[in-house]
Amino acid sequence: MNYLTAKKGFKSWLFTLDHKRIGLMYLVAVLSFFFLGGVFALLVRAELWTPAGDMFTADMYNKFFTLHGAIMVFLFIIPSVPASLGNFLIPLMIGAKDVAFPRLNLLSWYIYVLGALFFFYTLLFGSLDTGWTFYTPYSSQTGTSVISATLGAFILGFSSILTGVNFIVTIHKMRAPGLTWGRLPLLIWALYATAVIQVLATPVLAITLLLLVVERAFGIGFFDSTIGGDPVLFQHFFWFYSHPAVYIMILPGFGIISELITVHARKRIFGYNAIAASSVAIAVIGFLVWGHHMFVSGQSSFASMVFSFLTFAVAVPTAIKVFSWVATLYRGSIAFTAPMLYALAFIFLFSIGGLTGIFLGAIAVDVHLHDTYFVVAHFHYVMMGGTVIAFIGGIHHWWPKLFGRMYNEGWARLGCFLIFIGFNLTFFSQFVMGSRGMPRRYHSYVPEYAIWHQLSTIGSLVLGLGLVLTLVYLLHSLFWGKRAPHNPWGGESLEWQAATPPIEFNFTKQPVVTSGPYDFPEIEQDRS
């Protein structure tokens, strides 16, 4: 009797307090929005096939890229890993029966759904054309439904905050006996750092969006220069959240990669303490770099210099992670399973995404590259090439634990290959045209860029095909996949000691931890 079969009926899901079921409900929700956001992305790419704006009107195009961005950021990628896999795994990995506040956990899910309804309303009535960043003064003037969209993001923010509170308390208070901070799986460290940002940065977005709503509804003028307000103040507020928010998006991905690399290379992680501490360091420094989004917004040059320096500084803990993963692979027994392939793809793609971030953090270079496809490509290399690749890799790695079934390894490798090729084709071309001056958010362009746009559009189709293929074989495995063994990868962290799939309250008796999460038995043998 596992958690999926313990209770029956629709209501047993809607009122469940089980973190595993809530995690699954989040998984279904965020993947649905990933699909929806992906459809808008393909529409955008389709329009860009030819230099002329011939498929949609400019207004339609503005709405499509805005909806793509807003859905992907607020409804998919921010909740993606923490709310789905994090919810499922945290109590299992720390040997607890549930998160600290199960009812709050369910409430967070309903708040998420409420926020999503606001987005649906926006989608159906009036749409949105501000870009996902809601920059003033345009956002306070446009005729589209900015209020419902910002209220939606505001509500989603509270879902994120409450999840963060829940996770921090769970990790502090619910660990199994013997599970010291130094024995926590690195995914837990990463989710902990993420939760800190969720709790401390998201409320600033909340007040920002609330002020934007008040601005539109009552003309309060904080962001309106005609009565003494300051549109740039909005940018400061917005990026004070939204830069840390990219760490909300990527840190859980880092955590997943740490797990995947060690387990599938059968080697203890290199630099456990450094990886754990660098997650926290990224969370802290990440709060102090927001001004690098505003190098061309009239910010003082001294402030720009400081922000540029801090941006370079945040690359240090990030690089520590990448080097540690590579060092873990060195002389490991690498198994080229699908999760490992995703982990390798992640290291490759994230390194490109991270290094181009350094280009953009350099003030002089940024003046040239600002608002070009170079920025778009950089962002997608870290978010899609980073977080989404890690997320999909993580789904494969924990799929047997989630559902008790194995996916088909051959199809999985093919899917990973298609995604990798499609992704690079889509976004590497954007680096090229961006560095040559192609501005973002235009629905028509000069013919010189056509070849790069066409490569990018072809890539997006390959990428889409790879993702659909992945979805198909994963769903197929739910019904016809082989029954998963108890611990298919030989993981040592606690979630692999629970039954597959886990029982309703996770463990038959309270686990007690006596060793680290990556002390694989064969390593101990080597030593003796």
Binding site: F101, P102, V165, A201, V204, I207, V214, F218, I220, L233
Partner: protein, 212 residues
């Protein structure tokens, strides 16, 4: 006379763990609240830096006496809240109920006074943004100052309302004799929340009413 203790929730090992989890959760929530208001304080700082003369002149139109009275009312309510928590810990149910009722009463007083302040401002047209229609001359951008005033005190007022809601909730649970030395977590975390509401006002009062 027997109290009904809520049982230990299924996922905790002990009441102590359950208590410390709830308390940590509340502190994190309060941290979130502080950051929520911090945006407004930053906006205040920016606009005061841009238009110092507006702030100096506009604050004269706020009623310091009413503001100070409200400060005293709210500080006293924090005292009665602290006494309520103490009473719950000692198992003095009657004291608990009296102090909760007093806290609720002070909160109501605060909002009533705020109501009179607001209606006076509305009457004079000292309003945010495009609604500003006062006749007196205030240099700079008075509409922004009153925008800040209404948004900051308005959001604080909403927090007072929520506080009254949760105080009423633990008052009803107190009537059912649910709290005692062994179990009083809800009283304590509502107390923490109420003190935060108080602390925010302690910053709002000098920033808005006592500009020098």
């Amino acid at each position: 006379m027997s109290r009904r203790y809520p049982p230990l929730a299924h996922h905790f090992l002990s009441l102590g763990q359950q208590y410390s989890a709830a308390k940590l959760g509340m502190w994190l929530f309060l941290a979130q609240e502080v950051l929520f208001f911090s945006g407004l304080f930053m906006a205040y700082a920016a606009f005061r830096y841009f238009y110092p003369e507006t702030f100096l002149a506009a604050h004269e139109h706020l009623n310091v006496t009413l503001g100070a009275t409200n400060t005293i009312v709210l500080l006293t309510s924090s005292l009665t809240m602290a006494l309520a928590v103490r009473a719950a810990q000692l198992g003095q149910n009657k004291q608990l109920l009296i102090n909760l009722a007093l806290t609720f009463l002070f909160a109501t007083t605060f909002l009533v006074i705020k109501y009179f302040e607001y209606s006076h401002k509305i009457h004079l047209g000292l309003l945010p943004g495009k609604f500003y229609s006062a006749h007196e001359h205030i240099p700079g951008q008075p509409a922004l100052f009153f925008g800040l005033y209404f948004v900051m005190t308005g959001l604080h007022g909403l927090h007072v309302l929520v506080g009254m809601g949760v105080i009423a909730w633990i008052f009803i649970r107190g009537l059912n004799r649910e709290f005692g030395p062994e179990y009083n977590t809800p009283v304590e975390i509502v107390g923490l929340y109420w003190h935060l509401v108080d602390v925010i006002w302690i910053f709002l009062f000098p920033l808005l009413y006592l500009v020098k």
